[in-house]
């Protein structure tokens, strides 16, 4: 799960990470008020979306007065902000962060993720902040310093010092950095984060450290034990169909092709998307109905798929171990009838009673095609999607 910059800063601040003074505004008037409360001087107005590259896209602007802050916020709130991370459709901005402007002398990078190979959190720091860290990793990997964290000890102070000295920090910045890095790890651990990124971590004109930007992602599997984090979810940043699908515990990701897929199992669902593409088609979605390919889930899945107007054909690929294919076929027939699905449907199913299942589909009078292999299913559905008027 992703959250906004202002929410990440609030969480980090609670754990002891220094962040700029600022507040979120949902209306231009609020933006002006906040600017006033911050002293009436220069503030930065930052569009809040779940994507980076906001500065280049026009989503970060300086305001020299509360009036200017209000004017900028009026233009920004409701704008469609396009950045290199949002895709061409961009995101509608619903809120802005208004922060006190400040002078900085250095921009650094600090991040924390799980290193899967080591099965440990790894803290990464670089003196090259304020830029795309992937570019730094690609061109100058020696300028990214790493410390793996032992869960039994947490981040040991000497580790933080190693990173701080590697960043070229000096004097009182060293214990500041130590405290900040420890706070970042504690926030990560307490919230079951999957990523914390402070880019840039700045050195201010007075020589202090501050998180000028902050990103936090959370482990979806752990959200059950963090009701406060669940409240931070911004449904406006998510695809409406994906939100709908999640209510039925369907794993659904919308893409932009024309062939809807319904599969049981994530690996098989990805492989089904792959084979559709190889057959010359474009998948409209990823959809894993999971272990419960029962009548109710089939119906819910069809509802979601058919809500996507781009879908011109559907491929169902269900491989059940003990799944009875005649029962599956009945579920599919019922759903298609109830929802009045008009597009061609190709079904490939494996389990028990396969022949009986195919017979039921053939006798239903509905627009079903059955296939015996994934390859055949993909070829047939691509053909059928192209012959539709």
């Amino acid at each position: 799960m992703k959250i906004h910059e202002y929410q990440a800063k609030a969480i980090l601040a609670r754990h002891g990470v220094p962040v700029p003074k600022g507040e979120v505004a949902f209306t231009p008037a609020e933006a002006g008020d906040i600017a006033q409360r911050l002293g009436g001087g220069t503030v930065v107005v930052k569009a809040q979306i779940h994507a980076g590259g906001r500065g280049k896209g026009g989503g970060v602007k300086l305001a020299r007065s509360p009036d200017e802050a209000e004017t900028i916020a009026r233009a920004m709130i409701g704008m469609r902000l396009v950045t290199h991370q949002t895709g061409p459709e961009g995101r509608i901005v619903s809120r802005v962060l208004v922060e006190a402007g400040l002078q900085m002398t250095r921009e650094l990078y600090l991040g924390l993720v799980i290193d899967r190979a080591a099965a440990r959190p790894v803290m990464m720091a670089s003196p090259d902040g304020g830029v795309d860290i992937e570019a730094v990793a690609a061109k100058t990997p020696d300028r990214i310093f790493k410390e793996h964290i032992n869960p039994a000890t947490g981040l040991v102070p000497f580790q933080a010092r190693k990173l701080a000295f590697a960043l070229g920090l000096e004097g009182s910045q060293i214990p500041q950095a130590s405290k900040l890095m420890t706070a970042v790890y504690e926030a990560f651990r307490h919230t079951d984060a999957s990523m914390v990124e402070i880019n840039p971590l700045v050195v201010t004109a007075s020589g202090d450290l501050l998180a000028l930007d902050a990103k936090m992602n959370f482990d979806d599997s752990a959200l059950g034990r963090h009701p406060d984090l669940r409240e931070l979810r911004d449904l406006g940043e998510e695809d409406p169909l994906e939100i709908e699908a999640s209510k039925f515990s369907l794993n659904y990701i919308r893409l932009d092709g024309s062939i809807g897929c319904m599969v049981n199992g994530a690996g098989l669902a990805m492989a089904t998307m792959d084979i559709i593409k190889l057959a010359g088609g474009e998948p409209a979605n990823f959809l894993d109905v999971g272990g419960g390919a029962n009548a109710e889930q089939i119906r819910n899945a069809f509802k979601i798929l058919m809500s996507d107007k781009n879908v011109h054909a559907v491929l169902i690929n269900i491989f059940g171990g003990i799944l009875r294919c005649d029962v599956l076929a009945q579920g599919v027939i019922a759903a298609v009838k109830e929802l009045d699905v008009r597009v061609p449907i190709v079904i490939r199913m494996e389990g028990t009673n396969v022949a009986e299942g195919k017979r039921l589909l053939a006798d239903s009078g509905l627009n079903f095609t059955t296939a015996d292999s994934m390859g055949e299913a993909a070829r047939r559905v691509v053909e059928l999607s192209q012959t539709k008027k």
Binding site: I114, R116, A117, A119, R120, P121, I133, E134, A137, A138, P151, A152, R189, D192, S194, D219, D220, S221, A222, G224, R225, N251, I253, L255, V263, N264, G265, A266, G267, L268, A269, M270, A271, T272, M273, D274, I275, I276, K277, L278, P283, F286, D288, F319, G321, I322, E350, T352, S373, M374, G375, A378
Partner: protein, 288 residues
């Protein structure tokens, strides 16, 4: 000989009295696995079907001589179940559960260090040695006894590979689902090393997914040390970056973990990488 699970396996089921545990315990027993009991805290002293139920893994091991366990316990309790099993020194722990928080698994892996248990999973279908036994949910009726080993991050995609091989009359020695989570107990390399030593395995099918670098690490191992033929397929060639594709570990993050990188690394290591999931069986036939 098969790997990990055979006729000498004595299997308990943690979560035996729950719906999933009960169903799959019966399936495993029907397949010929020696299921010896189950664990559900609070139901010790009772019986479920023909099996004794115990309050703790320690009790179960002491009374039944179990040497393996399969865990069908909900995600909020599964990490604890794994650690309890490891504490009793069970040689094989198979955890099917999906949705265990990543930091819980990090703690589990730390707990397992230095102990004698091998963990398969979590978020996996388990393993099957056709004709000998199974621990998990892989259906027995799609398998054929034979000499091809399978190691896979996926569930039903593994069944697809098994189905293709069986259809060609090419049987399997052992099929191991290592799971789709970012932190797992047994890696591709771990299983490949077991297949390398297994006199009953002639070739291996390796099924990977986007996310992480496990396939690239396996490619380096294969290149250096693995001499049996390998056929590989990587799911997620069409996956968009930054999205979690069902499995918690199936995510292209920071430019890393793409299917194309994995396919290139495996190809460079001498693996026959098929682009279509439909071609797995045929590619194995061609390599034999």
């Amino acid at each position: 000989m098969a790997i990990l699970l055979d006729k000498s396996t004595r299997l308990i089921v943690q979560g035996l009295t729950g719906r999933e545990g009960a169903f799959h315990a019966a399936q495993a027993a029907a397949y010929g696995t020696n299921v010896v009991g189950g664990v559900t805290p609070g139901k010790g002293g009772t019986k479920h079907e023909q099996w004794p139920v115990f309050n703790t893994v320690a009790d179960a091991v002491r009374e039944t001589g179990a040497n393996a366990t399969v865990i069908f316990v909900p995600p909020g309790f599964a990490a604890d179940a794994i650690m309890e099993a490891a504490d009793s020194n069970l040689g094989l722990i198979v955890c099917v559960t999906e949705g265990i928080p990543t930091l819980d698994m990090m703690r589990v892996l730390t707990f397992l260090q230095g102990r004698s248990s091998r963990l398969i999973g979590p978020n996996c279908p388990g393993l099957i040695s056709p004709g000998k036994g199974k621990a998990g949910i892989i259906p027995g009726h799609i398998c054929l006894e034979g000499r091809i080993g399978i190691v896979s991050k996926s569930g039903t995609l593994t069944y697809e590979a098994i189905h293709q091989l069986t259809g060609l009359g090419i049987g399997q020695s052992s099929c191991v689902g290592i799971g789709g989570d970012p932190l797992i107990g047994t890696s591709f390399i771990d299983v490949l090393m077991l297949f390398a030593q297994d006199a009953e395995t002639d070739a291996v099918v390796m099924i990977g997914e986007i996310g992480g670098t496990a396939e690239e690490e396996a490619a380096a191992y294969i290149r250096k040390s693995f001499r049996k033929p390998v056929v590989g397929f990587i799911a997620g060639q069409t996956a968009p970056p930054g999205r979690r594709m069902g499995h918690a570990g199936a995510i292209i993050a920071g430019g890393q973990g793409t299917a194309s990188d994995k396919m290139a690394a495996l190809t460079a290591a001498g693996v026959t990488v098929v682009r279509s999931p439909d071609e797995i069986g045929k590619a194995v036939a061609a390599r034999l």
